[in-house]
């Protein structure tokens, strides 16, 4: 259309730059990581594999994730597409690997949905009823399903809370977690407390067990005494708590020309996040020892809160976990549907996936498809967990850790491969597009492989499915399912599968001024872009 103007002058972020202030950017970064929900979902598992060393695992898991954030940042500069790993994978490796990277991202989002729904159901019931009701699997599942539908609906409607209500919600969440940590630590440093809890063993016998406070020690932040397998098992659970943190990096990119605020906000939100995970895990481990948290599983934060907090603060803690689970849908449903949209839009999957609702301007078909499949997958897991000794439902945290490890790991490797021409041109480039992404990528790929190896054993925990560890099945089944699907698409959409990786000599310097790559699909088997 000759007389269509995509107005650049009007779009020069004058109005928006002012509205995305320091606090707002911090809020977006921290809220999309959903600290309350992340802790509720993973704390019990991390203490299970690392015991007193849970704080070390919580901190250490940040390292590879932070390294990968560098690759997200620079790959996003070359191609800021909502397909992220999918489009970057195509550019670095080619269409087949790119397709699988996109699939990995969708799978990670899908695998976590049952846990998100289950925890929301559980904590919703805890808010209004007692613990017995909260563990009623039928009620929990029903509420969990309503939750998935509601979250899908919100993403489809494109509803966003105003910045002010987000600040309020996140402020409450952080305050309650901090109060919990302070009370727990002061009790542990003081006289200490003990609690007698009836523990049901695997063989059905109930034994009253006494748990005591443990005096906090700095050694909980060191890895000494942990086996490699425990560290890896801890990492695969804990990478999950930083999932979504990279949003901060992309928001940073968003408003970079307004002033230095976003950069400072990214650093500050990281510090806030690390601090809150550190003090809460210290408090949780110290209050009644790691075994208490392990035993409580996904209820760990609630059970510990019940010991440390007065009733009204406990309610507030539950509300914080619930709202944080809802916020977590932003980092789950949105990226999944956007990857689906990107794959449909670039002709790698059915075009219907790229369908946009004309009124709400959101991908409606992808949203409802993802919501529907999530509910099915949730039901499958609930049925499996309920009818056998298999804990498929809690295994999903470890499984999602595997999926995150593989697709974050791949983007680290994509970054190095894609920018290989520029890595050795300056020290800055070497560190930011070579060393950090490479280190993060190698660590995460190693975590994935080691988990596959360890989880094949029947005593990895969470029970077995078809004679193999549940985590391995859930973590790899859906990933592997992508391979036949990919070949099916390659027959149906030959044009996309004729794309070539971007020729290395045409890749632009990611730290330069002009970083944008040519549109995806410029380089195909028949057209090498004029070379």
């Amino acid at each position: 259309m000759a007389d269509t103007i995509v107005s650049d002058t009007v779009a020069s972020k004058g109005l928006k730059g002012g509205s995305l202030g320091l606090v707002a950017v911090i809020v977006i970064g921290v809220a999309s990581t959903a600290p309350g929900y992340s802790l509720a979902a993973s704390l019990g598992g991390v203490t299970g594999v690392a015991g007193l060393k849970a704080p070390f695992i919580m901190l250490f898991a940040f390292v590879p994730m932070a390294c990968i954030a560098a690759s997200f940042y620079y790959l996003n500069k070359a191609d800021p597409d909502c397909g992220t790993n999918f489009t970057w994978g195509v550019r670095a490796f080619g269409p087949k690997a790119g397709w699988i990277a996109g699939w990995g991202c969708i799978v990670a989002d899908l695998v976590i949905m049952p846990n998100l729904a289950g925890i929301s159901g559980q904590y919703f019931l805890l808010l209004f009823f007692d613990e017995k009701t909260a563990n009623n699997i039928y009620l929990q599942t029903a509420i969990g399903m309503v939750f998935i539908v509601a979250m899908t609906w919100i993403c489809w409607k494109g509803i966003e809370l105003s910045a002010r209500s987000q600040v309020l919600l996140l402020g409450t969440e952080l305050a309650v977690l901090a109060i919990f940590a302070v009370i727990a630590l002061s009790k542990a440093f003081g006289k200490g407390i003990s609690r007698v809890v009836p523990i049901t063993h695997d063989d059905g016998t109930v034994v009253n067990t006494t748990f005591h406070s443990v005096r906090p020690s700095l050694s909980w932040m060191s890895p000494s005494g942990l086996s490699t397998s425990s560290v890896v098992a801890g990492l695969v659970l804990a990478v999950f708590i930083y999932w979504g943190w990279d949003t901060c990096v992309s928001v940073n990119e968003e408003a970079k020309d307004s002033n230095k605020t976003p950069g400072r906000a990214a650093v500050l939100s990281t510090v806030i996040l690390l601090a809150i995970y550190l003090v809460v895990s210290y408090g949780a481990v110290a209050l009644l020892g790691p075994d208490f948290a392990t035993n409580a599983g996904s209820e760990a934060i609630y059970q510990l809160g019940k010991v440390a907090l007065p009733g009204w603060l406990l309610k507030l803690l539950i509300i914080a976990i619930l709202t944080s689970a809802a916020a977590s849908c932003q980092t789950t449903i949105l990226p999944a549907t956007r990857t689906m949209l990107s794959m449909g839009s670039h002709g790698a999957a059915p075009a219907k996936l790229a369908q946009i609702d004309t009124k709400r301007l959101t991908p409606d078909y992808s949203s409802w498809l993802f919501g529907g499949i999530s509910i099915l997958w949730y039901l499958v897991l609930v049925v499996i967990s309920h009818n056998s000794s298999t804990d498929a439902y809690n295994a999903s945290i470890a499984a999602v850790g595997m999926a995150i490890a593989v697709y974050y790991g791949l983007s680290g490797i994509s970054c190095i491969l894609y920018f290989r021409r520029w890595i050795f041109t300056s020290v800055k480039n070497f560190v930011l597009i070579g060393l950090l992404p490479g280190f993060g990528g190698v660590v995460l790929i190693y975590v994935f492989c080691k988990t596959v190896w360890d989880a094949r054993s029947v005593d990895y925990g969470y029970g077995t499915l078809f004679g193999v560890g549940t985590v391995l099945i859930i973590g790899t089944l859906l990933l592997v399912l992508g391979i036949p699907l990919m070949f099916w698409c390659s027959v149906k959409y030959p044009h996309f599968f004729s794309f070539r990786p971007d020729p290395v000599d045409l890749v632009k310097d990611p730290t330069g001024d002009d970083t944008l790559a040519a549109p995806l699909g410029t380089y195909t088997k028949s057209n090498r872009g004029g070379i």
């Binding site: 259309m1 909502c82 992309s250 949105l334």
Partner: protein
């Protein structure tokens, strides 16, 4: 040239009636009519790329449709299209500012009273933030005349 009329148009046909009314006035005033499509994808995660392309396609289709209709109805009327990647309200105000427009025309009827109160309505915000006159036209043709 200053004094153009700005019309906010949505991908779902909202604002079409406002555009028709504004076109009549623009023809009388002998100024151009600028159709503005404001869009912003959700403020989380990487943006741009495929999602924005698809949204732009929706907007271009809707704007193209109403532009062709207006050009047929008013020979000689200059109808322009502007795609502005910002919140609709900010997009309209910025376009009005840039062109020193005479007034802004918007549709009304997209959101009910409750939703408008909770999430804000474009029309409401425009009326309160605009420094120039605003023409509010009900979207549903049956409500008119």
């Amino acid at each position: 040239m200053a004094g153009e009329l700005i019309v906010g148009v949505g991908g779902d046909g909202s604002g079409f009636e406002a555009a028709r009314r504004a076109a009549k006035i623009a023809a009388l005033m002998k100024v151009s009519l600028i159709l503005v499509f404001g869009y912003e994808s959700v403020a989380m995660g990487p943006r741009g790329g495929a999602l924005e392309e698809e949204i732009e396609a929706v907007g271009e289709e809707a704007l193209g449709e109403i532009r062709d209709e207006l050009r047929t109805a008013h020979a000689g009327l200059d109808v322009l299209i502007e795609m502005v990647p910002q919140r609709p309200v900010d997009a309209l105000l910025a376009a009005a500012d840039e062109h020193a427009a005479s007034f802004i025309a918007v549709g009304h009827g997209g959101s009910g009273p409750l939703r408008a109160a909770l999430l804000g309505s474009v029309t409401y915000e425009i009326v309160h933030r605009s420094h120039i006159p605003v023409l509010v036209v009900p979207d549903d043709e049956d409500d008119l005349d």
